[in-house]
């Protein structure tokens, strides 16, 4: 048994450590996920003007500040009692703003954070022994996904074509956000009751131009099949089976063309999505398509016990009409709220079923599974008690452990796609489950993110060109007195998953309590008071540290993949915003 620890897990947002015990076959037998930072944001809103929340909570995360800004604004709409009156065009502006950010965030994850691991020398070692095909596949992997400042065997490796091309597009998307939000990150355009800036016809034209430029990148690098054809046959497919068949047929066609030439280039029709869809999975690549080898990413990052996991979505993107329901009941949002069980049963989401445990976290009250609103958390102040290597029974993380009905929840693109019953992702999940794999794994998680990016690109165009009316109303006034002795709940979807903000104000209209539960906390959580490991920990346990080739304790590529496949954001996870004045200091909230 070897202790294999990845600390820090880089190429994520924030600072995280993954500690594992690995047996002689390279299988992980135990794992702890530790968040390494206590930011101490708490109470910064205490006794303050509630409206500051939409600004200041954006500073929890610079990668998805807009999601925090929107969750806060939803909570404020609710607090000031105007959620049912927010004008349609303000909601559409918020959708555009969030949609652009989610696409940019996903692109960043796929190309800058996750992609570089596909150029890991471990794959070179295996693939280059597999003849011309293996060599060709390796050349594509390193040629597309190598990061900046990359060296292998002492030689500098040129930056990958997809990586390099993605950076300007990410920048372009951020520019499009800045057009309607002032700047990005850290924009200032959110306000309860509406939005601060009515985009002009000129802005809409510019956003459309940016959009076309981004789609040009997509058609050159990401997805070589015609975009509309893809959407029509996957997102709009009449059944999950049809969506999967369409993709399988498309990939089969590509393989037939490339089988003799060993040409897996973009010019030969292999966009990054096609490439990963075929070569990333054992089931799809080897068993269904008959490829000689694959990366076997469907064999890692799965859940071994479906009764100990669920997939949670709070619901995101407003329907284009005046007003919305801040509690996000099923059907109120374009991406609906919901819960899918580990056995893929569909359940209704009930915010009251969320609890958090601090049994294995660095806080002094560790015996309760409390509803977030009632949570009390006091951080360790004794430096000697902050120990990350104490094992599964110890307290080992700054993260708390959120649970839904007592069960750990995966949040993010995969959870959202399952909850909206997106045909392709649902079809893949079912196929994996039926063939003895975990429905969720590194491969389905990545494909769900890619597919959600495509869906958002599709929906965005509607918001920009159809739903938004530049002459429409952009805000309704708020009455600051309405906040007095009132509460607000803001449920939303960040790129990384379900995000909730809760606010209470006192008799003077100032904040008495502010709490957030964020995606990173769900995903990276340590064990709870029942000893159930968090989603990432469950993913790790039972997975092999190398999917192909020899076991290499010194380069545990699967751990990188599994950790990064969730797109974790640790600053969010341990933002520790809470802001309570009532029962200081026992009401510190650590999330």
């Amino acid at each position: 048994m070897v202790n294999v620890t990845v600390d820090p897990l880089t190429r994520i947002e924030g600072h995280q450590c993954i500690s594992t015990e690995v047996d002689a076959n390279g299988v992980i037998t135990d794992a702890q996920s530790s968040s390494l930072i206590f930011r101490g944001f708490e109470r910064i809103l205490q006794n303050q003007d509630p409206r500051d929340a939409a600004f200041l909570t954006q500073r929890i995360c610079g990668v998805c500040p807009l999601a925090h800004g929107l969750a806060a604004t939803n909570a404020l709409d609710d607090l000031y009692g105007v959620a049912d009156q927010v004008p349609k065009d303000a909601l559409v502006m918020r959708n555009i703003f969030q949609g652009l950010n989610m696409v940019a965030s996903h692109a960043t994850h796929i190309y800058i954070l996750f992609g570089p691991d596909l150029a890991n020398p471990a794959y070179k070692k295996v693939l280059t022994t597999l003849g011309d095909t293996g060599n060709a596949v390796w050349n594509e992997m390193v040629g597309r996904f190598a990061p900046i400042s990359y060296k292998m065997d002492g030689q500098s490796v040129p930056v990958g074509s997809s990586y390099l091309a993605a950076i300007p597009e990410k920048k372009r998307l951020q520019e499009a956000i800045a057009l309607i939000a002032g700047r990005m990150p850290g924009p200032s355009s959110l306000y309860p009751g509406g939005y601060t800036y009515p985009a002009t016809v000129a802005d809409i034209t510019k956003i459309s131009t940016y959009y076309l430029q981004v789609m040009d990148f997509v058609s050159k690098h990401t997805l070589k099949v015609d975009f509309d054809t893809w959407i029509e046959n996957t997102y709009k497919a009449s059944s999950p089976q049809k969506a999967v068949s369409f993709v399988a047929e498309h990939l089969k066609g590509l393989i037939d063309k490339s089988v003799t030439s060993n040409d897996f280039s973009k010019d030969a029709g292999w966009g990054d999505v096609e490439f990963y869809a075929a070569f990333g999975s054992e089931l799809v690549g080897e068993n269904i398509l008959g490829l000689p080898a694959s990366l076997k990413h469907d064999t890692i990052g799965g859940y071994k016990d479906p009764s100990k996991i669920c997939f949670v979505s709070y619901g995101g993107y407003y329907k284009p009409k005046d007003g919305y329901d801040p509690r996000s009941p099923a059907g109120d949002r374009i991406f609906t709220s919901g819960v899918v069980s580990g056995k893929l049963e569909y359940l209704k989401f009930d915010p009251d079923k969320v609890t958090e445990s601090t049994a294995h976290s660095f806080y002094q009250n560790s015996d309760n599974d409390l509803a977030p609103v009632k949570g009390e958390t006091v951080p360790f102040t004794d430096p000697d008690k902050i120990v990350f290597a104490g094992g599964s029974d110890s307290q080992y993380s700054w993260d708390k452990a959120p649970r839904y009905d007592g069960i750990p929840g995966e949040v993010g693109p995969l959870a959202r796609m399952l909850n909206i019953k997106e045909p392709l992702v649902t079809g893949l999940a079912l196929a994996f489950a039926e063939n003895g794999y975990s429905a969720a794994n590194v491969y389905t998680r990545m494909l769900a993110r890619m597919q959600e990016t495509a869906i958002l690109a599709y929906e965005l165009l509607n918001w920009v060109t159809v739903d938004y009316d530049p002459s429409g109303k952009i805000s309704v006034p708020i009455d600051l007195n309405a906040a007095k002795n009132n509460q607000g709940m803001g449920l939303w979807e960040a790129p990384r998953g379900a995000l909730g903000h809760w606010i209470s104000a006192g008799s003077n209209g100032k904040v008495t309590n502010y709490q957030c539960i964020v995606p990173g906390t769900w995903l990276m959580s340590p064990r709870d008071s029942n000893g159930i490991p968090g989603p990432l920990e469950q993913s790790l346990i039972g997975s092999k540290i190398n999917t192909i080739g020899d076991v290499d304790y010194t380069n545990p590529v699967s751990i990188y993949h599994m950790g990064r496949s969730y797109d974790p954001c640790i600053s969010c996870a341990v933002h520790t915003i809470d802001l309570t004045g009532k029962r200081a200091p026992n009401t510190l909230r650590i999330l």
Binding site: P8, G40, I112, P185, T554, P556
Partner: protein
């Protein structure tokens, strides 16, 4: 490039970057962005390519990665072009690098090509790098620094190690510069004890380096986030020798360690705000979504010393006030406490309950005084 711009570039070629007259820079160059500035120094860049490669170690402390995000948004050149043009080797950046920390039974394994901790050890040993810090540094609890531990080391310790052999240190963003949002007043602030690299809020003796007993000059590029031009142009100027560290620093930095060319002591965001015309006519928005001056919605632009109004953001497409959000003065050392409440006019906050005239007297600069008084007059209809 138009003839006018070419001439301007030629003129600027003979002027030392960041030492030129502020107004010349602000009026003439600010709006042109990074491309022209870099092409201005083409000859030096060629020299750079012929001679040394410059290494940058970019460390992340308690941060949100927003400043890295911002730098990735750099307009023209973008970050990759800038690195290439300046022959910069971004030797370590936690969000971008290939490496991660890899440990077997508590020992570092593999090599610098895959292991970030081995890479950093080698880089520190070799020295001669520019150290960029993003995010603040917890000194707590109890001076231990253990509220942030990366790779089995407190970040406080890491900063000390990295700072020692750095040829220049640049603190990027409000958090690294002054503590930023992590230093906001709260009941746990004394436990976390977050510090900037060289400052704790306005206190030039409160930085983590002082705590560690390390005496090294630091250039602060504040902002929440920092503007990519501010970062790339400053780092570029250091690399090209346009700012010699430490000799030139007293002449180019203000008392908060900020390059005056981007953060001019006598100039605020208010002066070049796109809504300035409404202000001058005394027309103010009182509800969001309008087009008038945002003073009554709490705008702090008259107190923010930065060139946002000329430079704008994200390749110059907009800025906070243009999109209808009040300026939050995120470039000031007291951010965010000094800017709160964000949506309330500064004189209503009152410094010790004072009226605008008193506020004006203690406000940060002459421009702010004029702006504040002016605004009150307009509102009173004088």
């Amino acid at each position: 490039m138009s003839t006018g711009i070419k001439n301007l570039v030629r003129t600027l070629d003979s002027v030392d970057f960041l030492k030129m007259d502020r107004r010349t820079f602000m009026k003439a160059v600010g709006g042109l962005g990074a491309t022209v500035m870099l092409s201005t120094y083409k000859a030096d860049i060629v020299k750079g390519l012929e001679f040394a490669e410059t290494r940058i170690i970019w460390l992340h402390g308690s941060e949100c990665t927003g400043c890295s995000e911002s730098v990735l948004n750099a307009g023209n050149p973008d970050i990759v072009q800038a690195l290439q043009k300046l022959n910069v080797n971004l030797a370590f950046h936690e969000t971008l690098c290939a490496q991660q920390g890899i440990w077997n039974d508590g020992k570092l394994v593999n090599n610098a090509e895959l292991n970030s901790e081995i890479l950093l050890e080698e880089l520190y040993k070799e020295g001669k790098y520019i150290l960029v810090v993003e995010g603040s540094i917890p000194n707590g609890p109890n001076g231990s620094g253990r509220y942030l531990v990366i790779g089995n080391k407190t970040f406080k310790e890491t900063i000390g190690e990295a700072a020692k052999n750095a040829v220049a240190i640049v603190a990027v963003g409000a958090c690294a510069a002054y503590g930023g949002i992590t230093s906001a007043d709260s009941e746990v602030a004394k436990d976390t004890d977050y510090r900037g690299v060289a400052f704790a809020k306005e206190d030039a003796n409160g930085g983590i380096l002082q705590e560690l007993g390390i005496d090294k000059p630091v250039i602060n590029i504040p902002g929440c986030p920092a503007h990519p031009d501010w970062v790339l142009l400053t780092v570029g100027a250091v690399i090209l020798g346009k700012i010699k560290v430490p000799d030139d620093l007293p002449a180019v930095l203000d008392k908060y360690g900020r390059p005056m060319v981007f953060f001019p002591p006598d100039h605020t965001v208010h002066e070049n705000c796109p809504r300035r015309g409404y202000y001058d006519r005394g027309e103010f928005d009182e509800q969001v979504g309008g087009e008038k001056c945002l003073w009554k919605l709490g705008c702090k632009a008259p107190y923010a010393h930065a060139d946002c109004g000329i430079r704008k953001w994200n390749s110059g497409v907009s800025m906070c006030t243009q999109a209808g959000g009040p300026c939050i003065a995120c470039v000031e050392p007291g951010f965010p406490d000094a800017s709160r409440p964000l949506y309330v006019e500064r004189e209503d906050v009152g410094l010790a309950g004072a009226n605008i005239d008193l506020v004006a007297k203690v406000a940060v600069g002459a421009a702010a005084v004029a702006a504040g008084v002016h605004a009150v007059r307009r509102m009173k209809g004088e």
